[in-house]
Subunit: 282 residues, 2 copies
């Protein structure tokens, strides 16, 4: 398998996409990431590769989506490892720009906002997070977009449920010519949703973190009420619940558990914040 | 001259643009308007026509850019007249969508914001105005964009100086593949900057409104200090000054009058708010 071409500037990426579309690539897939790729990402990369003639993965630790006191500085950066993993998946292009390339004038004057929908749930403890993520993905969409004649898809994991919904809203509200393809959560054998932040967990904390998934399973099976589920998570040693709610998956409006609803959980395990979610069977 | 084709849906406009580009149109120009076209618009339409193979004018009274208590309901709507005027200029396509077509789910969940830069000057008395204007123009850019291989230009008048600057910022911050082409202010013979809102002025008010231009001329010529200029506008019967400042034209930062600076004035003439601006010669 050939190594992907690593593009570090917007102009270079645009030239490469245009050249490959001109050379016959009939569809383009984009997977936006912050790197530190794990099996969850690679599962999505595999789908991006399989479903498109040209597979592009961006690797960019986006400062706008980290709040003050969050882990922007310490967020893992290992581009060489990421590129090697993406080579195995047959990805064509890796876009790995610097912060200066993406934000040449510093914090953008004009940006994307999700208002109230981005201020609830994850947004309540991470002010500005979703606006930052939307702002950079909006840029990636306009940078990569191959033009109206070429199908363009972008891939997001279902693990970040609120992010996925807001990305779908942005595509609709901004008329972006891209189709969002959601990819199911990838889990460890014992059920822990894969996340770049899992590496911050000690072996013991990783054990405690399993309560998130097992509680969602019991809740989805109707074995626990919402209140019992909350107590179960919070009772786990070293685990502190932030929220466990069920929402309408189309609007994220909080509602009682019911068939088709989406159960969302967020908790700190030691100092590490983890999220997970599960649909209640219809 | 053929009448322009009037498209009322996003899908129809996209099809038309794609078909005409496929048929050989090598460049696309877009003039976004709210209709009620006057000579100022037609001057810009003429440039859009002259500089592009395909000339598109949008006519959409955008509710998002009107504040509560502003004139959204009473804003003039006369599409037939507008189309007839644009026919004379040889415009190819008019995009005249309904509010429901542009905002099918009501107020968009995800939108564009200009933060502090959109909250000063005009934004101070019109909260949300620039965010609304940016949100709709962002949509127009993604709707009309002909693809990377075809030059795409959008035309904005210099009269709305802050709007022009913010549109330029949005293009840069969002990586839109469109070139903004500013068009100089068109004035009446006696100097009044043309505006759709001039029709709200009585003959007497239109006379008083001339103080805006004459004061800018005197300020730009160094015949008045900023304070004298402010007093002169405010002393005019039926005219109430909002602001008269000089700014750095690249950043809109307020600065003392100096060669190359941009003088911006806003005033109410009777109940009608007017703006004007002029560069101080370098």
């Amino acid at each position: 398998m050939n190594a992907p071409l690593v593009c570090t500037t917007v102009a270079q990426l645009r030239e490469e996409v245009a050249a490959r579309v001109a050379a016959g690539a009939a569809s383009v897939g984009l997977l936006p990431t912050m790197g530190a790729l794990h099996r969850g990402h690679l599962e999505i990369a595999r789908r991006t590769r399989a479903e498109n003639d040209l597979a592009v993965v961006s690797v960019f630790v986006n400062p706008l989506q980290f709040g003050p006191g969050e882990d922007f500085e310490s967020y893992p950066r290992r581009l060489d490892d990421d590129v090697a993993l993406l080579a195995e998946e047959g990805v064509d292009l890796v876009f790995a720009p610097s912060v200066e390339e993406m934000y040449p004038d510093g914090t953008p004057v004009v940006s994307v906002t999700s208002g109230a929908a981005g201020a609830m749930l994850e947004g309540a403890t991470r002010p500005g997070h979703f606006d930052g993520a939307l702002t950079v993905v909006n840029k990636l969409f306009t940078i990569v977009a191959p033009g109206p004649a070429t199908p363009f898809r972008a891939y997001f994991g279902e693990k970040d449920a609120q992010q996925l919904l807001l990305m779908q809203r942005m595509v609709r509200d901004f008329d972006h010519r891209v189709e969002i393809r959601p990819v199911p959560i990838v889990r460890s054998e014992r059920g822990l949703a894969l996340s770049s932040r899992n590496q911050y967990l000690s072996a013991e904390q990783a054990e405690h973190a399993l309560v998130l998934h097992s509680t969602l399973v019991a809740l989805a099976a109707g074995e626990l009420t919402l209140e019992q589920a909350r107590r179960r998570v919070d009772a786990e040693p070293d685990v502190s619940l932030d929220y466990l709610v069920t929402v309408d998956p189309a609007t994220l409006t909080v509602q009682e558990p019911r068939p088709g609803a989406l159960a969302l959980v967020a908790a700190w395990v030691g100092p590490t914040r983890l999220i997970d979610n599960m649909r209640i069977p219809a």
